[in-house]
C-alpha cells in the first residue's frame, strides 16, 4: 500500500515537476538573455559617454565616434554624407567601398536625428548594442563588439531542487493520509524559489498555484482518474494520437495566433492592442449603410447566399452524376468518371479565368450562345445578380466533381440487399433513392456538405478571379473582404484577423447546428 502511495506521489510530482522545470528553465534563459542584453546596453552607453567627452572607449568596442550632421548632395536630396570624428582623426562616412561598420555609425546617427539619444540592440541578430549620446558636434555613438558572455546553467541548484522536491513528496507519502497531497504540493512549491529568481514574483506565485493545484489533484485522486482514463482508452488514444498531434502542432498554434491578431491594430508595421475595436468596427458596418456592398452585413448576406447556392448545386450535380455513373450497365464507366472529374483536375487558376472569359460581354462564349439563341447579350459583371450567377456557375463547375467522387464512394457502401428489399416492396426508383439511398448517403455526404460549406464560405479564388467583386465590390464575400483588409486597404492585418475570427465563429455555429441535425446518424448504423 505504502509503496503504491509513494510511487503515485512521485509520479504526480514528476509529471507536474517536468512542466514546472520547463517553465523555470524558460524563465532562466530569458533572464540570462535579459541580463546579457542589459550588460551590452550598459557597455554601449558607457562607451558612448566616454567618446562624448573625448576619451577612448574601452575595448572591445566595434566602432565609436562622434558623427556630424548630414550634408545632402546637391543633385539628390536623399544622398547625404556624414563625417565621423574620432580621437585619431575624422573621416567621411560612406561611399561605394566604405567599411560595413561605418554604416552602423551612419545609421545610428540617422536614428539619433529622428529619435534623440538612445541605446538599443542592433536588429541584425549580432547581439551588439549601440548607444548615442548628445554632444555639441553631434551624437557620440558607440557600438559594442559582440555578444556578452552568459551565466552558466546552475546544474547543482537544479539537482538540489529536484532532490528537495522528491524528499518532500516522499515524506508526505510515507506519512500517508492528508500528508500525501501536502507533500506533493510542498515538493512542487520548491520550484517557486528558482522561479522567483529567474522570472520574478509573478512566476513564483504561478508556480505556487500550480503546486497547490497538483497537490489538490493528487489528494482527491483526480490525477489517478485522469491517468486511469488514459490507460483505459490507450488503444483508441494511440490511434488518434498521430493525427491529433499533427493537428495541434500545425493548426492550433497558427490558429490561436490568428485569433489573437484580431485584437490588434496593424499600422505601418506596428501592432497595437485595441481590444474589441476591430470587431466593433466590422459589426457596426464601418460607417457604411446596410445597402452598401462594403457593409459587413451586406457581405455576410452575399456570403450566405453564395455558400448555400453553391453547396446545394454541388450536391445536386455531384449526386446526380454519381447516381448515373454507378449504374453497372453504363458503358465505359471508368472513362466517364475520369472525364467528369476533369474540372477538379485542371488547376483552377486557369479554368476560373476561362470562365471569366466565357462571361465577357462582347466576345464571351456565353453571350455568343445567348445571341445564337436569339436572346440579348448580358453584361455579366455590371449587375449583382448576373455577376453573382457567373461566380456561382464557375464554382459549381469547379466543385461538383468533388461531391461526385464523395457520393460515388458513399453510394457503394449501401448494401445492395436493402435496395432489393425496397424494390420488392414496390418502391419506384425515385422512392428507393429517397427512402434508402439518401438516408445512407447522409452519413458520408453530411461531413462533405459541412466541410464543403466551410470551404465555399472561404472560397477566395473564384470570387477574386471571376467577378473580382464587381460590380462595386457587391459580389465580394467575407474572405475576399478580409483579403482586401489585409492587402488592399493598407495592410490592416488586425481587421483582417478580426474578420477571420468572425468567419470562424459563424462557421462554428453552423457546424454545431449541422452536427445537431445529423446526430441521429451514428445510431442508425449497423
Amino acid at each position: 500500500m505504502r509503496a503504491g502511495d509513494l510511487r503515485r506521489a512521485l509520479r504526480d510530482a514528476l509529471l507536474v515537476g517536468a512542466l514546472l522545470w520547463i517553465a523555470v528553465t524558460a524563465a532562466f534563459v530569458r533572464d540570462r538573455n535579459k541580463d546579457a542584453t542589459q550588460r551590452a546596453l550598459r557597455h554601449a552607453q558607457a562607451a558612448a559617454e566616454l567618446v562624448a567627452i573625448g576619451d577612448t572607449p574601452p575595448t572591445p568596442t566595434a566602432a565609436a565616434a562622434i558623427v556630424g550632421a548630414p550634408v545632402a548632395s546637391k543633385e539628390h536630396g536623399f544622398l547625404r554624407r556624414r563625417v565621423a570624428h574620432t580621437p585619431t582623426g575624422e573621416r567621411a562616412l560612406g561611399g561605394p567601398t566604405a567599411p560595413a561598420v561605418d554604416k552602423l555609425l551612419y545609421d545610428a546617427a540617422g536614428r539619433y536625428d529622428k529619435d534623440g539619444p538612445f541605446v538599443a540592440m542592433l536588429t541584425d541578430g549580432s547581439e551588439r548594442a549601440v548607444a548615442a549620446v548628445a554632444t555639441a558636434r553631434g551624437p557620440a555613438i558607440a557600438i559594442t563588439a559582440g555578444p556578452e558572455p552568459r551565466a552558466p546553467v546552475p546544474w547543482l541548484a537544479v539537482l538540489g531542487h529536484l532532490g528537495l522536491m522528491l524528499v518532500l513528496v516522499g515524506v508526505g507519502a510515507v506519512l500517508g493520509g492528508r500528508a500525501r497531497g501536502v507533500g506533493v504540493a510542498l515538493g512542487l512549491a520548491t520550484w517557486a524559489f528558482p522561479a522567483y529568481f529567474a522570472g520574478g514574483p509573478g512566476l513564483a506565485l504561478a508556480m505556487l498555484a500550480v503546486a497547490a493545484a497538483a497537490g489538490w489533484a493528487h489528494a482527491t485522486g483526480a490525477t489517478d482518474r485522469a491517468i486511469a482514463s488514459v490507460r483505459a482508452h490507450k488503444v483508441a488514444l494511440s490511434f488518434l494520437a498521430p493525427a491529433g498531434v499533427a493537428m495541434i502542432v500545425l493548426v492550433v498554434v497558427p490558429f490561436a495566433v490568428g485569433l489573437a491578431l484580431g485584437f490588434y491594430d496593424h499600422h505601418h508595421g506596428r501592432w497595437t492592442f485595441v481590444g474589441l475595436a476591430n470587431f466593433k468596427r466590422i459589426l457596426t458596418g464601418d460607417g457604411h449603410a446596410l445597402s452598401d456592398p462594403l457593409n459587413f452585413w451586406f457581405i455576410l448576406g452575399v456570403t450566405l447566399a453564395w455558400t448555400f447556392v453553391n453547396v446545394m448545386l454541388h450536391v445536386l450535380f455531384g449526386t446526380l452524376f454519381a447516381l448515373i455513373l454507378r449504374q453497372p450497365w453504363l458503358k465505359a464507366r471508368g472513362l466517364w468518371r475520369v472525364l467528369l472529374i476533369v474540372p477538379w483536375a485542371v488547376p483552377n487558376y486557369i479554368t476560373a479565368l476561362i470562365w471569366k472569359g466565357m462571361f465577357a460581354g462582347e466576345y464571351g462564349a456565353v453571350n455568343s450562345i445567348l445571341s445564337g439563341l436569339g436572346l440579348d447579350r448580358v453584361s455579366w459583371f455590371s449587375s449583382w445578380a448576373t455577376a453573382f450567377s457567373a461566380n456561382v456557375a464557375t464554382n459549381t463547375w469547379l466543385g461538383f466533381p468533388f461531391m461526385m467522387v464523395v457520393a460515388l464512394g458513399a453510394l457503394e457502401s449501401i448494401p445492395k440487399e436493402l435496395e432489393e428489399a425496397a424494390e420488392v416492396d414496390g418502391a419506384s426508383s425515385w422512392q428507393r433513392f429517397k427512402e434508402i439511398t439518401l438516408p445512407h448517403l447522409k452519413p458520408a455526404l453530411g461531413p462533405a456538405i459541412v466541410l464543403g460549406s466551410i470551404w465555399t464560405f472561404n472560397m477566395f479564388n473564384v470570387i477574386a478571379l471571376v467577378s473580382g467583386g464587381k460590380p462595386g465590390g457587391s459580389t465580394d464575400i467575407l474572405v475576399t473582404d478580409a483579403y482586401r483588409w489585409a492587402f488592399e486597404r493598407g495592410e490592416q492585418y488586425g481587421m483582417a484577423a478580426a474578420l477571420g475570427t468572425i468567419i470562424f465563429l459563424l462557421l462554428l455555429g453552423w457546424t454545431l447546428i449541422g452536427r445537431g441535425l445529423t446526430k441521429g446518424d451514428e445510431e442508425a448504423r449497423p
Binding site: 541578430g125 485595441v274 465577357a360 460590380p471 488592399e488
Partner: protein, 377 residues
C-alpha cells in the same frame, strides 16, 4: 543548395528578362568566384507577400528585384536596408534622376533602378496609319473604325493604372504626398472622359489586360494602351508601332502614365551588405543595363546605356519619349488603399451606374475610412 557565402537575389523575371539577368549573374560569378551570386526565380503572384514574411524571419534574400510601389510598407516594417550610405554623386549620375528619385522615400534611398515601366500607345498601322496626337483626333477616328466592328482603342478602363494617363492629362493626381486626392474636379473630368470613351464605343467596356491583348492581336482594336511587356503578346505578322499617348484636348496636357521603377533592393537582414551593394551596383551598371536593354528589351534608366544600336532601337525610343510625360508612381503606403475603391468607382462610372462625381466621392469616403486606423484614434 545555397551556399552561405553567396549573395542571394530573388526575382520574378521570366523569359528574356530572366535570360538577361542570368547572364549578368554569370558574368559576376566568373569575375567574383569567392562571392557568388545566386539567382532564385519566384512566381510574381505572392512574391511581395513572401518577401514581407521571409525577410523579417531571416529567410529572405540579400537582394531582390521589385517595383517601388511597396516601398512605403516595407520601409515602415523594417524590411529594407537604406543604401544611400554607399551611393555618391558619381554613382548616382549613372541613372536618370527621376528613376533614382522614385526609389527614395523619407529622405533615404532604398534601391538602385533596374528598369522603368510606363504605358504607351500601341497602334496597328494597318488600321490606323497615323496615330492620333490628341484625344479629339482619337474620338474623331473612332466612328469609322466602329463601323468596321473595330474599337479604336482598348485598355482596362476601370483600372486606375491604365486610367492614370487621362487622370494626369486632365491635371489630376491620385495622391498628394501621403494623402489621397480622389474626388477632385480634374479626376471627375478624367472619369467623365473615360465614360465618354465607353459610351461612344471608342473603347470596350469590359476589357482587362488579357482581352486588350487579344483584341489588339486580332484586329478588333486598332490601338491599345499598354507597357513594354505588351510586345511579347503581339503575334508575329501584326503591323504595329509604339508611340506616345495623345494629348488631352480639353486641357492641352499630355496624357501621362505612371512611371514605375523596378529596383534592386537590399534586405535589412542581408548577411554581407558590402557584397550585396557591390552586386547591386554591378547589375545596374551601364554595361549591365545595355545588356538588359538589348536582350530583354527593358527600358533601362541608364542614359549612357543607349549607345550604338540601342541608341535608336524604335521600341525603346518610344518608351523613352513617353518617359518625358510620366508621373512617378506614388510610394506612399496610403496609395495601396486607393486602387480597389478607384476601380469600383471607375466601373460604376463607365457602366453608367453612377455619375463620375458621385462615384469618386464614394471612393474618397471609403479610402478615408480605411485610413482611419484604430491606432491613430
Amino acid at each position: 543548395g545555397r551556399s552561405d557565402a553567396a549573395v542571394t537575389v530573388w526575382h520574378a523575371y521570366d523569359k528574356d528578362e530572366r535570360v538577361a539577368i542570368e547572364a549578368l549573374a554569370a558574368d559576376w560569378n566568373a569575375a567574383n568566384p569567392e562571392r557568388k551570386v545566386e539567382l532564385v526565380a519566384m512566381p510574381y503572384d505572392g512574391f511581395g507577400d513572401k518577401l514581407g514574411s521571409a525577410i523579417p524571419n531571416g529567410n529572405g534574400p540579400d537582394l531582390f528585384l521589385y517595383s517601388q510601389d511597396r516601398l512605403g510598407d516595407w520601409t515602415a516594417a523594417g524590411v529594407l536596408e537604406p543604401i544611400e550610405f554607399w551611393i555618391d554623386d558619381a554613382t548616382a549620375a549613372r541613372y536618370t534622376p527621376e528613376a533614382l528619385a522614385s526609389l527614395a522615400y523619407h529622405d533615404a534611398l532604398w534601391g538602385l533602378p533596374v528598369a522603368v515601366k510606363s504605358l504607351a500607345l500601341y497602334v496597328r498601322t494597318d488600321l490606323v496609319p497615323t496615330p492620333p496626337r490628341t484625344t479629339d483626333e482619337l474620338l474623331a477616328m473612332a466612328p469609322a473604325l466602329t463601323a468596321r466592328g473595330v474599337f479604336a482603342l482598348a485598355y482596362p478602363v476601370d483600372d486606375l493604372y491604365a486610367h492614370a494617363p487621362w487622370l494626369h492629362g486632365f491635371g489630376g493626381r491620385a495622391m498628394d504626398g501621403d494623402t489621397p486626392t480622389i474626388a477632385t474636379a480634374e479626376a471627375v473630368a478624367a472619369a467623365g472622359f473615360a465614360r465618354e470613351l465607353v459610351q461612344r464605343k471608342v473603347v470596350p467596356a469590359e476589357a482587362d489586360a488579357a482581352l486588350t491583348a487579344t483584341l489588339f492581336a486580332e484586329g478588333k482594336a486598332a490601338m491599345a494602351i499598354s507597357g513594354p511587356w505588351f510586345i511579347a503578346d503581339i503575334p508575329a505578322g501584326v503591323p504595329y508601332t509604339i508611340t506616345t499617348l495623345p494629348t488631352v484636348s480639353a486641357t492641352g496636357l499630355a496624357a501621362a502614365p505612371y512611371l514605375g521603377t523596378e529596383g534592386i533592393l537590399m534586405s535589412a537582414r542581408a548577411r554581407d551588405k558590402d557584397a550585396a551593394i557591390a552586386v547591386a551596383l554591378a547589375f545596374t551598371s551601364d554595361a549591365a543595363a545595355a545588356l538588359r536593354a538589348e536582350r530583354a528589351g527593358q527600358v533601362v534608366p541608364n542614359p549612357a546605356a543607349y549607345r550604338g544600336a540601342l541608341a535608336d532601337a524604335p521600341r525603346l525610343a518610344a518608351f523613352r519619349r513617353q518617359l518625358a510625360h510620366t508621373v512617378p508612381m506614388p510610394v506612399s503606403p496610403a496609395m495601396r488603399a486607393v486602387w480597389t475603391p478607384y476601380k469600383n468607382a471607375l466601373g460604376q462610372v463607365v457602366s453608367g451606374a453612377a455619375s463620375p462625381a458621385a462615384a469618386l466621392e464614394k471612393a474618397a469616403t471609403d479610402i478615408a475610412n480605411y485610413a482611419r486606423t484604430e491606432g491613430a484614434r
